[in-house]
């Protein structure tokens, strides 16, 4: 077995993987439910949904108390996925010794914090509700926890302390491609020889009423609230938007050489990453699909493989009218007629769109598809879109011997990142 790839770079081994979604914590629980076609989408109970157009989501309600807020949940999700991945790798969970690449949602003070500050400002003599009163409360009181949760580096800092990662953690956002970008940055660091091991994490615990309103105003969300588990229907004719969700995914990656040297179990190979930005529009893709096409091709080229080497595509498949059409256009352009016979499915039909975490969670599921020989289905596929001729593994999981997976992530702001994940070479 060679320790270098087609371009003479270190081969990147995956030695640990972790996941949390609305289906549960851990790979075992998630995979059992995912391959059984079970949905984690439900009616929102964590906060009031009156006046909201969308009242369903794939929130993770079993990790932290509702009143702990988004920042606490985002951290807890990240920690859980990262610990699962590191424990599986056999490396130290308190002295990991490699860098951390963290995809995390942008942070803001949350409404319960603003209201608490406004009340404190009133007690401190502030006359009118508003920012002057919030600032008065801030300077007269002790709100160090609020301060921490308003800083963009905090989740990374806390994870660094918990896991003993090395150096300054990189916290990043490339919208819905963030999880894939975290993995890509880790791959590049190992290839540059900066690190023998990295942990890449994507996390998102940011489903709040304000977040729902924001995405609703962009007409991005499904409003099919009546039967929550049936709302996310990627590649269906009656799809009408994505369903917001929470979760985290994590991978421990190492140079194959160093993983072998310490006798680690190799779960798979992260063969390639490809990226191409779109300059067309803030939320829509260039009509010819060229940036997504460019990202898929770049990932295949980076991996040194051709379209015939791909056995399964883990779709971005958000269930928005725009994404699924564009993803089909891009893939059919790159793969040609062969695309009709390559199975492609969307985990988002079951776990919803976990936004910042999606790319990392889907990388974990891609790896599990290879390792278990099972393709998770695209559920809710009752009315196929006739304009999208894909084998979406409709409704029921399928056994298949897959050696190599393409995982797509596309996001607002013209972000397109694709990963190629393969089985360990025999």
């Amino acid at each position: 077995m060679s320790f270098t790839d087609h371009a003479g770079r270190p081969v990147i081994a995956i030695t640990g993987a972790g996941v949390v979604s609305s289906l549960g914590a851990g790979k075992a629980d998630n995979w059992a439910k995912l391959t059984a076609g079970q949905s984690g989408i439900h009616r929102i109970t964590r906060f009031a949904t009156e006046h909201l157009r969308t009242t369903i989501a794939g929130t993770v309600d079993f990790m932290t108390p509702a009143e702990a807020g988004s920042a606490a949940l985002t951290y807890a999700l990240a920690e859980s996925a990262a610990l699962e991945a590191i424990r599986e790798s056999g490396l130290s969970e308190s002295d990991f010794g490699g860098p951390l690449f963290l995809a995390a949602p942008p942070v803001e003070l949350e409404w319960w914090q603003r209201l608490a500050l406004d009340a404190a400002g009133r007690d401190a003599g502030g006359a009118e509700p508003g920012y002057d009163r919030l600032l008065l409360a801030a300077r007269s009181g002790e709100h160090l926890e609020f301060y921490r949760s308003s800083q963009f580096g905090t989740v990374g800092q806390k994870l660094q302390e918990r896991l003993g990662t090395r150096g300054l953690p990189v916290t990043l956002s490339t919208a819905c491609a963030s999880g894939a970008t975290a993995i890509q940055l880790g791959v590049e660091a190992i290839r540059r020889g900066e690190a023998d091991r990295v942990v890449s994490v994507g996390t998102d615990g940011s489903v709040t009423s304000e977040a729902l309103v924001r995405f609703s105003l962009l007409s991005a969300l499904s409003t099919q609230n009546d039967v929550p588990e049936k709302a996310s229907k990627p590649f269906s004719k009656d799809r009408d938007g994505f369903v917001m969700a929470e979760g985290a995914g994590a991978l421990v990656m190492e140079s194959l050489e160093s993983a072998k040297a310490r006798g680690a179990t190799i779960l798979g190979i992260l063969e390639g990453c490809g990226e191409c930005a779109d300059d067309f529009h803030r939320t829509r893709s260039k009509p010819d699909g060229s940036p997504a096409i460019g990202a898929v091709r770049a990932a295949l080229e980076d991996a040194g493989v051709s379209t015939t080497d791909i056995g399964y595509v883990n779709a971005h498949g958000t269930s928005t009218p725009e994404n699924d059409k564009m993803e089909y256009l891009s893939l059919s352009t790159v793969f040609g007629e062969r695309m009709a016979s390559i199975p492609i499915s969307s985990n988002k039909s079951m776990i919803g769109h976990t936004l910042t975490a999606a790319g990392a969670i889907e990388a974990v599921f891609s790896l599990l598809a290879i390792r278990t020989g099972t393709l998770p289905p695209t559920i809710n596929h009752a009315n196929p879109d006739p304009a999208i001729e894909l084998d979406v593994v409709p409704n029921v999981a399928r056994q298949a011997d897959v050696k190599r997976v393409l995982s797509n992530s596309f996001g607002f702001g013209g972000q397109n990142t694709c990963l190629v994940i393969a089985a360990e070479p025999a």
Binding site: Y131, L168, S173, T174, R192, R282
Partner: protein, 401 residues
């Protein structure tokens, strides 16, 4: 020794309270006598405000300008200045293959909508959650979300300037700017990239931005003094500034092949983070200095923001390890620009080498006079609350020097 994959700086775009463009900002810093300050609008807080900008100079379409909140406009504008300065702006092929790493946080909220909600709750709304939903669904502007979303600064740079090779947004206060420069430079050095746009932007003139700092008691409430001399001033020592700094980094080979003007060579870049106690901080700074050669340079450009504890640690480190090297705390003149702090310091270090002049002392006796123009400059950023980063830039060798 010069090598084809050396990282060189070929473009600088700066927007600050001192003006617009690398040349104007350099001239203003060289002739610095007093900062440009806004002391009324956010009293008791002081900020370094942005001058009036004709945004159409770098963001031609008014429709594009309207899609951005202030920090996105500042960043997109500064990025345009950097591309223009590097002779890359409008060059379709070079922009389409150009990599981009933006240090951004974002989150500029609608103050009016927030105030409506606070009022409604204060008046005694029945169910608070329902009241919040009611105001948000009726009052929030549909486009605001994108205008405040972190990665949409990069998204706007792609749309306006057509930079599409790759697009990554790093978050996390000053550390994001350190990682952005460090990663972009490392990719070029390793042959993973030939040319990259890297930088950040910040809008200080927003009450929510002040609120984040003040929750940690970091802001000065007693007006301005040079960053090294804020101990006796009421409050936490920091004064923010609006502005942006973008750099075009290239491999020497790529820059020379297209005949680009080279400001300087970007040498080692290193960063770390850990417990902020003085002893642990000192140990990290010493290791980073050894890694970068910071203490062997002729001048140090620091971007300390003046927060008391961290600035004290920085002064102690400099006194112990760089006593003979003149240091310049450029945030005295510019204000603290959070994500843009590190790229901004690199930019001014590059300008100083390029113009062959030391940066003059900026009003503090902590800043010794420089006896000669430096041949290499150390860049030092100690985050106001976390993260430390260093870089060394030096006069460029080989062709183009």
């Amino acid at each position: 020794m010069s090598s084809p994959n050396d990282v060189v700086i070929t473009g600088i775009g700066i927007l600050s309270s001192l003006g617009e463009g690398a040349e104007a900002n350099w001239a203003a810093l060289r002739d610095f006598s007093a900062p440009v300050l806004e002391t009324e609008r956010f009293a008791p807080y002081t900020v370094h405000p942005l001058p009036e900008i004709d945004w159409s100079q770098q963001i031609a379409k008014r429709g594009d300008q309207r899609q951005m909140e202030a920090w996105q406009r500042i960043g997109t504008y500064s990025a345009g200045l950097a591309l223009e300065d590097a002779g890359i702006k409008g060059n379709e092929a070079l922009c389409a293959s150009m990599d981009m790493i933006v240090a951004a946080s974002g989150g500029e909220r609608d103050v009016d909508v927030d105030t409506m909600i606070l009022n409604k709750v204060a008046e005694g709304a029945g169910d608070i959650g329902v009241a919040i939903n009611e105001v948000l669904t009726t009052e929030l502007r549909p486009t605001l979300f994108l205008a405040q979303l972190s990665n949409l600064l990069a998204g706007n740079i792609s749309i306006v300037h057509k930079v599409t090779g790759s697009s990554r947004t790093f978050m996390g206060e000053e550390g994001s700017g350190m990682s952005a420069v460090q990663t972009a430079a490392a990719r070029i050095r390793a042959g993973q990239s030939t040319h990259a746009l890297v930088g950040g932007a910040y809008n200080a003139e927003h009450p929510d931005m002040l609120l984040g700092y003040e929750l940690g008691h970091f802001l000065s409430r007693g007006g301005w003094a040079p960053v090294w001399d804020r101990d006796g001033i009421e409050g936490g020592g920091m004064i923010s500034g609006s502005g942006g700094a973008f750099l075009v980094l290239e491999s020497r080979e790529h820059a020379e092949k297209r005949g680009a003007r080279i400001y300087c060579t970007l040498g080692p870049v290193a960063a770390d983070q850990g417990p902020v106690g003085s002893d642990r901080t000192r140990a990290r700074l010493e290791r980073l200095a050894a890694e970068t050669g910071l203490a062997e340079t002729g001048m140090i450009v620091s971007s300390t923001g003046g927060s008391h504890a961290r600035t004290a640690d920085e002064k102690a480190f400099l006194s112990a390890h760089a006593l003979d090297i003149p240091v310049r705390g450029i945030a005295s003149a510019l204000g603290h620009m959070r994500d843009a702090q590190f790229p901004m310091a690199v930019a001014f270090a590059a300008l100083s080498l390029h113009y062959g002049e030391a940066i003059p002392a900026l009003g503090s006796i902590f800043e010794a006079e420089a006896v000669s123009a430096p041949a290499s400059i150390g860049v030092l950023t100690i985050g106001f609350n976390a993260a430390e980063g260093m870089a060394v830039v030096s006069k460029t060798q080989g062709a183009g020097a």
